[in-house]
Symmetry: C2
Subunit: 231 residues, 2 copies
């Protein structure tokens, strides 16, 4: 379900600085809202827009024919996406939770003489993908989960509490593992005092009690058989 809630020809609350830097001040932008679980675009579609997240979260993913899913990236408030695409979308993007995005038409992107910003976004996506290749190909389960927590921590600007918009299933499909293994890694971190969960709102709110130790886990300072002797 797509609900159009505003356009900048009408009164608005704020401004998509990132999109404006990308497309020029003359570009018209709109605000759209996607309710949780709905698709922003899907693999194979012709791209019309580029997006910046105002509020909410989006996952991008590819599927195998039997349903196995690999999430390539999560987009959080401020993030721009849809630029990575050439003639067709190469992945599907859908809202994880209720999400508001700013959009501008794609052709505006190439009316802008300054291509530097586009290159930067592409490079950023590519660098993220290459780092993720290393994680998926060569890191172990707890390293992956630790990396994920640190990535979220960094991108959310090191908040006191990390409020995860995504389910364990999303995390699992991002990290190339199962829900259960994600859960077990998180439990192990909790038992070791590296993280804790906040209050009673599920275990979606994570507090990093010891970023140093978490980074040690992420950076393979402890290998599989060396730590977690408690099981």
């Amino acid at each position: 379900m797509i609900v159009r809630i505003s356009a900048n020809s009408t009164r608005v609350k704020s401004v998509p600085h990132g999109l404006i830097a990308l497309t020029g001040k003359k570009a018209f932008w709109n605000t759209y809202k996607y309710s949780h679980g709905t698709q922003v675009f899907r693999n194979g579609e012709v791209p019309d827009y580029i997006y910046q997240i105002r509020e909410g979260a989006v996952r991008s993913y590819k599927l195998l024919s039997d349903g196995r899913r690999q999430i390539g990236a999560f987009y959080l408030p401020g993030d721009i996406f849809g630029v990575e695409t050439e003639d067709l979308h190469r992945f599907t993007a859908e809202a994880i939770i209720d999400t508001t995005v700013w959009i501008v038409r794609r052709h505006r992107l190439f009316e802008n003489a300054d291509t530097k910003n586009i290159f930067e976004l592409l490079h950023h996506s590519l660098e993220h993908a290459l780092n993720h290749l290393l994680l998926l190909g060569r890191q172990e389960a707890h390293e992956r989960v630790a990396c994920f927590l640190l990535e979220m921590d960094r991108r959310l600007k090191k908040p006191a509490v990390i409020v995860l918009p995504m389910t364990r299933g999303d995390i699992a499909d991002y990290l190339g593992m199962t829900i259960e293994t994600v859960s077990r890694s998180l439990s192990a971190f909790r038992h070791r005092g590296i993280i804790s969960f906040n209050g009673h709102r599920g275990h979606r709110e994570v507090i990093l009690k010891d970023r140093t130790k978490l980074a040690d886990v992420a950076l393979s300072k402890y290998r599989r058989r060396d730590w977690m002797p408690d099981r």
Copy 2:
């Protein structure tokens, strides 16, 4: 070891069409040769050139601190690389076998008004990386090896014999698995008549006896427990 063997101010045998399309006909290009195992550039360096392979093969990779390696891509004759880089190289590239490349200085890239080709290359790299994420995160060992063989087959234009420039170790680090598992998958394919090895030059030369069946394996038409009951 870098050996300069020619420049286009002197007589040359052929012309790097890809690089010329990218940088304009006025760009000066040189030919360089890297002997097998030597680095073209390394992670963290400031990029000076972009490269097109004339002969040979290059692997690009990232390392973890303890030596685990993930190869992100193989570059084969005709392939252009080094464009994926922004201010610093984000991975290391080294010659797998003795390799000759055409190079042009990087600044030539942005003197060219037509950025379309650069975008295409970036998109291509990104798309390859995203597909590889799916493979590393969600595909099983024989699926990965089958995908690898089909990728090489396609990129080498479906030759009668695939002459692999890379070792089993390179393949393993590309597919996120161990040498032994790669070898076992290849042996399984061979025993099932899907591939065969050519002659006595090691098992580096592969003949695809049944591309259809190989594609079935790659595309998960057989799952882990369904096929290969013979072990």
